[in-house]
Symmetry: C2
């Protein structure tokens, strides 16, 4: 199975994109709602959570692991690659690649949680792929709570976005990485604030595309999964009403969430 | 020692109030930053966290436990009282008592996290102490992230408060319970929005007062603690820069935070 983990339900946007691209492959998803959000926690705690999540996905039959959470990928993907032998697909890598490829003038902005911005992993990766590009980053810690409240079009949300995006506008980025799986839900507001000439890069779509490329290069992995006949399963470490609603909304159908203590 | 736990550092306002009222008694504090916030999680997960926190405080020599977090007290204080033999002091009980006592016309408002408001524990307690009082409650899930960002006086914070407090104003409450230990940091803004005739009840101060009353009635407990010669200790399940700053600011001196995996 394709294992996917996230700190919460945001990573379900990655799972949905994977399902759309590889509809014949079974998924096992784990959302660590009980410890959510990761973005404000220390690297040590985030890394420990990532180990637990990976162990759980492997125990459920995952043959590769997609780190759908930018904060987790930015903090712990190196550690997980050292400690586990299964392939690790990393939302940050996929997203940085795309941004470097599409940026016209090499002015790339990044918005994310504190953990993602602090890690500087997007900067390192962009520098490696496209040396000399201009990079500006901004931590936006209030956006996840605003999305989780469903305040997707409120005046307060627009004002907070204006404050966060101001410095990126001044630095004239032509490409903006939405470095958190919650942010595409604010995509319209962000686009209208940044102007239509700025290209937004959605990390969920890029993670799914990256996974698809990996499977195309390694066809045996995918064909083994397809033949296994397993059904996709969705696990969470805590389940509440808003979590269930968000999951159903992302997939456009009722999703059976299984609660598990990891 | 006096054990105090909270989902994070907000409960340090309780610890500080306890230190001010009982300066000769040693405290052991635990802030569950790694699982913070509790307010958006399910009753099952909150209760399990409270058990772990209580076990930890007892292992450190606590002889009574103060639940400093409103979400935790609202959800799990009954369970903890059934399962543990040590006295449990509960921020909700103390705060409800005070509000019922000071409200002139019996119009009492409550603001808190989703978990606190959903539990209806303030309503139940107020009804028991002062039957017939009019109660209005409002969940304010964005206030904790705003306080943790230090946005204590920003225009966006004022607008969000106006939205949250609107219905309470219309219901003409004369007393407003700040049912979360983060909210006193927004006390000035809340007071100015509600008007100076509305009395704000600070749950941190009330929890400390309640504890002091309990110790006055049970003098042996306090004198045993005072004679033990132990020093106060502050534990957290995760430590980051903002957490350390907030702890130092609340106590007005550098606080040594010990990280522990609970």
């Amino acid at each position: 199975m394709i294992g996917i983990f996230d700190s919460g339900v945001g990573g379900m946007t990655v799972a949905k994109a994977v399902e759309d691209l590889c509809p014949h492959l079974p998924l096992v998803y784990f959302g660590d709602i009980a410890r959510s959000p990761y973005g404000s926690k220390s690297p040590e705690v985030i890394t420990e959570c990532c180990r637990r999540n990976t162990d759980f996905l492997l125990s459920q039959g995952a043959e590769l692991v997609v780190i759908a959470c930018n904060s987790a990928a930015a903090t712990a993907s190196g550690t997980l690659r050292r400690e586990y032998s299964v392939p690790i697909i990393d939302v940050v890598e996929a997203t940085a690649e795309k941004a470097a490829a599409v940026s016209a003038a090499g002015g790339i902005g990044i918005i994310g949680t504190r953990a993602t911005v602090r890690s500087k992993v997007y900067e390192q990766r962009l520098e490696a792929i496209r040396p000399g590009c201009r990079i500006a980053s901004q931590a936006c810690p209030l956006l996840v709570p605003l999305v989780e409240e469903g305040w997707l079009d409120k005046r307060e949300t627009k004002m907070i976005l204006r404050r966060y995006l101001h410095s990126l506008q001044q630095q004239q980025v032509d490409t903006l990485i939405l470095g958190c799986t919650h942010y595409p839900l604010l995509g319209r507001l962000i686009q209208s604030r940044m102007g239509k000439r700025v290209r937004l890069i959605d990390s969920s779509a890029e993670a799914a595309r990256h996974l698809k490329e990996f499977l195309d290069k390694n066809p045996r992995i995918g064909s083994n999964m397809a033949e296994s006949g397993q059904q996709s399963r969705f696990f969470v470490s805590d389940s509440t009403g808003p979590v269930q609603q968000l999951a159903d909304r992302i997939f456009g159908r009722p999703i059976h969430l299984e609660k598990v203590d990891v």
